[in-house]
């Protein structure tokens, strides 16, 4: 039965192509634009200038997170917070920055603010990502 259907289909297809061209490429479809993990795109300000290559998070962001962590260890809280804020300004949607913020507030025993930062990290990274899981682990610890 399936073989008959396939043959009929091929015949109809050939007929349609002959009569009206390839219908299947005429119809414009809407495709959802979404991703399970954040993929930074390129800045856009002119038609046709999309640099989709992308631009991962600028390396300086991770250097700043490291700097914040070092400052935190040496109890220089102002320097730590400054580095994190600078990282956030550069990459406001980088989940790792929020994860580091969470660590900062955990160290300060500001549990509620730490929790919120970790929620934000999860929302940006996606719950199933590595960062999302790290954030969840910290949240689990907090709720114990």
């Amino acid at each position: 039965m399936a073989i008959v259907r396939i043959l009929a289909c091929v015949a109809i297809c050939a007929g349609l192509i002959l009569v009206s061209g390839c219908e299947s490429v005429q119809h414009q479809r809407v495709v959802p634009v979404a991703s399970d993990t954040l993929k930074p795109a390129a800045p856009v300000n002119k038609p046709g200038t999309v640099n989709s290559s992308s631009a991962l998070t600028p390396p300086i962001v991770f250097a700043l997170i490291k700097r914040a962590s070092t400052a935190m260890r040496s109890d220089d809280l102002t320097a730590s917070l400054r580095a994190l804020e600078q990282a956030l300004r550069i990459a406001p949607k980088e989940a790792q920055v929020y994860l580091a913020y969470g660590d900062y507030y955990l160290l300060q025993n500001q549990d509620e603010q730490a929790r919120q930062m970790l929620y934000r990290a999860m929302s940006l990274a996606g719950e199933n990502s590595q960062i999302g899981k790290l954030a969840q682990m910290r949240l689990d610890k907090l709720s114990k």
Binding site: A2, R5, I6, C9, C13, L16, C22, E23, S24, V25, H27, R29, V30, V31, P32, V33, A34, S35, D36, T37, L38, K39, P40, A41, A42, P43, V44, N45, K46, P47, G48, T49, V50, N51, A55, L56, P58, P59, I60, T78, A79, L81, R82, E85, Q86, L88, R89, I90, P92, K93, Y101, Q113, Q116, Y119, R120, S123, L124, A125, G126, E127
Partner: protein, 778 residues
């Protein structure tokens, strides 16, 4: 000496005895007089000494708070275009040259930019002058490195000083420490004003005698004998009155000053106090401020000829004003230079080189004016919660704000360019009224206020519409209504059918409410996302009534509206009045994925010496589930792609995903738009102060201004992270029923949870492709 006993003798004595004691008595009176005089003099000295020490050891000057815009951070991957960079460098008074070598200059060759920055201080410390370069390819910074080709991760330029918070006395002063004074300046000052400064004790009798002799011979005053210390005393403590008593006080206080303090402290105070010119009602005091006022750069960055000119002006800042009397100033400057050469302080070659230089003046800067008055008003309001007015005006605090001069520039330009055009429509109807504007731009991920405009004239210092014009927001409220629904995923999703038909509500007080669509057309049943995208009033009002006023009010409060909300059904269509700034708070929560993020205009406050006083760190609080916000943002993107905001894509690139909402109030009295990309949220209001109709809708007014500035700023598109509980399903465009992705006229919509499978319908209009049909058949 008369004793107390002698003085206590009865007064009724014989003349003879009186005459025999007369000489003693006379001497006693004179003595008493001198004792009293001495005591008075001693008291006076004590008083003067207290004066000298009190003012010198206390706060010497009332220093206005200095307010700075955000510093431009340059790093690989930064979105930046050449036009905006040049605009910023112009603001910082950098000069474009062929080959940048000196601090404060830059060069552009193709896409390569070289900058030689000036040394500056930021809250994190001192940043030395640096020579670095980078490329601008596709509006992105790349290849950042120092001049010796070592890769650089980040360089922060000096922030633009956008204004100050000034005391009543109009003085501008930029303090300089003695150790930062250029040696040539000190030499020029010493040679010209007080050769023996480092030797004398505050006064120089020989100098006075020499000056008196010269003046006597000339028959007029040709030379002064005052030391620098005396000049400082005169300016710092005394009036300008010419009298012997004042002159005596000056000498005494000069001696006291020298007795208490070392030469360096005295010279430092002199250099920061000396009057060196006038800008309108504002006096220029000190070499630090004068170098910026006349040469547009820091004192340390000036050259010998410029230091000589500043010293030359001490004798008469008005008479030798280099802008008004350049020849006179040049002659006096050259005299200072020649004295330095004659004293052997500079070589003949340096003298000739400095003498050959032009005055090198910059255009007169406007002082004591705030470049961004509307933003400054916000800064002051936020500061007043932590600082008293007196401290802000006198302590020289440094306030580092979030203002982005590039974005502010574009907002100002767009309003100035577009509002007059839009006002022409109004002129036919109401010629006397001026269309007004208010705008706020914030960073989506940071909550930082990047630009703020309170009037169509950016320099207007009065009523600030961005902060204070509370107007009905019309359809800008609709996202809150739809969000209230989307937070109930078991009842509503983006494809839920809403009735867009007229209705009437009768209230107990006899009044009634019967809203209508803007177009007066009715659309039957429409999917929820379409009702929002096309801003249908009837379906929104019906949805609001089904949800209840309390639910929508609760959502508004979660989104950051803390003012009283009137609980009437008209709330669903935007009868609530808000300011553009309040709308920004509300939309900020939507743009930042349901995280409430208080808007901040200030990053840090430090003392004049750079010690940290306050930080204003970012705070976040999740108030709306990420799933509901994801759905709302999807619908708000549809507003821009196919709804009332679609005008924007006539100018924006397709790749720039944006979400937003238009708002119009009754009789077109207010035109609103709020929209965001991945980086920026902008809110624009247009209207009349007298609340008359404008003939503008949100789409034909505010949206156009928003589009005009947003398209000029390099930025990343809105990119949503899909929560795991959200999945895409396909719905029939006509019936809204769940259907197959292969169906023609079916569209995908994100759904939180699982949609009701019982509503599934097979393809009603055939398949979108032959392949689809084939698959279904197989």
């Amino acid at each position: 000496m008369p004793t107390k006993k002698q003085r206590a003798k009865p007064s009724g004595k014989s003349p003879s005895s009186s005459s025999t004691r007369a000489p003693w008595s006379r001497h006693g009176t004179i003595l008493k007089f001198f004792v009293v005089l001495l005591l008075c003099f001693g008291g006076w000295l004590v008083y003067l000494d207290a004066q000298v020490r009190y003012k010198f050891e206390g706060k010497r000057w009332a220093l206005p708070a200095q307010v700075y815009a955000r510093a431009l951070e340059i790093y690989d991957g930064r979105a930046l275009n050449l036009e905006n960079l040049k605009q910023e460098l112009k603001l910082l008074r950098y000069h474009e040259v062929a080959d940048a070598q000196v601090p404060g200059s830059y060069s552009v060759q193709g896409k390569r930019v070289q900058i030689v920055s000036r040394a500056h201080t930021l809250p994190d410390g001192r940043h030395p002058s640096s020579h670095f370069e980078f490329s601008l390819k596709g509006d992105v910074v790349s290849g950042l490195k120092s001049s010796d080709q070592a890769p650089l991760q980040l360089y922060t330029l000096e922030p633009f000083k956008m204004g100050g918070i000034y005391p009543g006395v109009k003085e501008e002063r930029a303090l300089v420490r003695y150790q930062d004074l250029p040696a040539d300046l000190v030499t020029a000052l010493r040679v010209t004003e007080d050769r023996d400064f480092f030797e004398h004790i505050g006064i120089a009798p020989l100098s006075i005698a020499r000056a008196m002799w010269k003046n006597f011979r000339a028959g007029r005053i040709v030379q002064g004998g005052s030391t620098l210390t005396q000049q400082l005393v005169k300016n710092f403590y005394l009036s300008r009155e010419r009298s012997l008593i004042r002159k005596a006080n000056e000498a005494l206080m000069a001696l006291m000053l020298e007795a208490h303090y070392d030469k360096y402290a005295i010279l430092e105070t002199y250099i920061n106090d000396i009057y060196l010119g006038q800008s309108g009602a504002t006096a220029i005091h000190g070499f630090g401020m004068a170098s910026q006022f006349y040469f547009g750069k820091a004192l340390a960055q000036c050259q010998l000829s410029e230091w000589a000119l500043l010293v030359a002006m001490i004798k008469g800042p008005s008479w030798y004003d280099p802008r008004r009397h350049p020849d006179r100033a040049m002659a006096r400057r050259n005299l200072v230079l020649s004295q330095m050469r004659d004293q052997g302080e500079i070589s003949e070659a340096r003298y000739q080189q400095a003498r050959a230089r032009q005055l090198g003046l910059v255009t007169r800067p406007r002082l004591q004016t705030n470049r961004y008055p509307a933003f400054m008003a916000l800064v002051k309001r936020q500061l007043r919660t932590d600082y008293n007015e007196q401290n802000l005006r006198t302590e020289g605090l440094k306030i580092y704000t979030t203002l982005d001069p590039q974005i502010q520039h574009h907002v100002e330009q767009s309003v100035s360019r577009m509002v007059p055009d839009l006002a022409k429509r109004l002129a036919e109807q109401n010629a006397s009224a001026a269309l007004q504007a208010g705008a706020v731009v914030t960073g989506v991920g940071t909550g930082e206020v990047l630009a703020l405009l309170g009037d169509r004239d950016p320099q207007y210092q009065g009523f600030n519409r961005a902060l204070d014009a509370s107007r009905p927001i019309g359809s800008l409220i609709k996202p809150a209504v739809y969000l209230s629904a989307l937070m109930q995923p078991d009842q509503y999703h983006l494809a839920s059918r809403l009735r867009d038909q007229p209705f009437r509500i009768e209230f107990e007080n006899g009044q009634s409410w019967s809203p209508d669509n803007f177009s007066n057309e009715h659309h039957g049943e429409v999917p929820l996302f379409r009702a929002l995208a096309s801003s249908y009033n009837l379906s929104t009002a019906r949805l609001g009534l089904a949800l209840g006023v309390d639910a929508v009010r609760d959502t508004l409060q979660k989104l950051g509206i803390h003012k009283a909300i009137t609980p009437y059904p008209a709330l669903f269509l935007g009868a609530q009045s808000l300011t553009p700034f309040e709308v920004s708070k509300f939309y900020q929560t939507i743009a930042s994925n349901g995280f409430n993020m208080p808007l901040r205009a200030i990053r840090e406050v430090t003392t004049a010496d750079g010690a940290l006083l306050s930080r204003y760190p970012i705070r976040v609080e999740q108030v709306i589930p990420a799933e509901a916000i994801y759905l709302l943002q999807h619908a708000m993107q549809e507003v821009m792609r196919s709804g009332t905001g679609r005008y924007a894509y006539q100018y924006l690139p397709e790749a720039l995903n944006v979400a937003g909402k238009t708002g119009t109030t009754n009789d077109n009295r207010d035109s609103w738009f709020a929209g965001f990309s991945g980086d920026y949220l902008g809110v624009v209001w247009l209207g009349l102060d007298n609340n008359d109709p404008t003939r503008l809708t949100g789409s034909t007014g505010a949206l156009r201004v928003w589009t005009d500035f947003i398209r000029r700023i390099p930025q990343y598109p809105l990119s949503m992270v899909k929560p795991t509980q959200v999945r895409y399903h396909w719905f029939d465009n006509d019936t809204g029923a769940l259907t197959d992705e292969r169906c023609r006229d079916a569209s995908p919509l994100p759904i939180w949870g699982e949609p009701e499978k019982s509503t599934y319908q097979a393809c009603q209009k055939g398949f979108s492709s032959f392949g689809g049909w084939l698959k279904s058949w197989l």
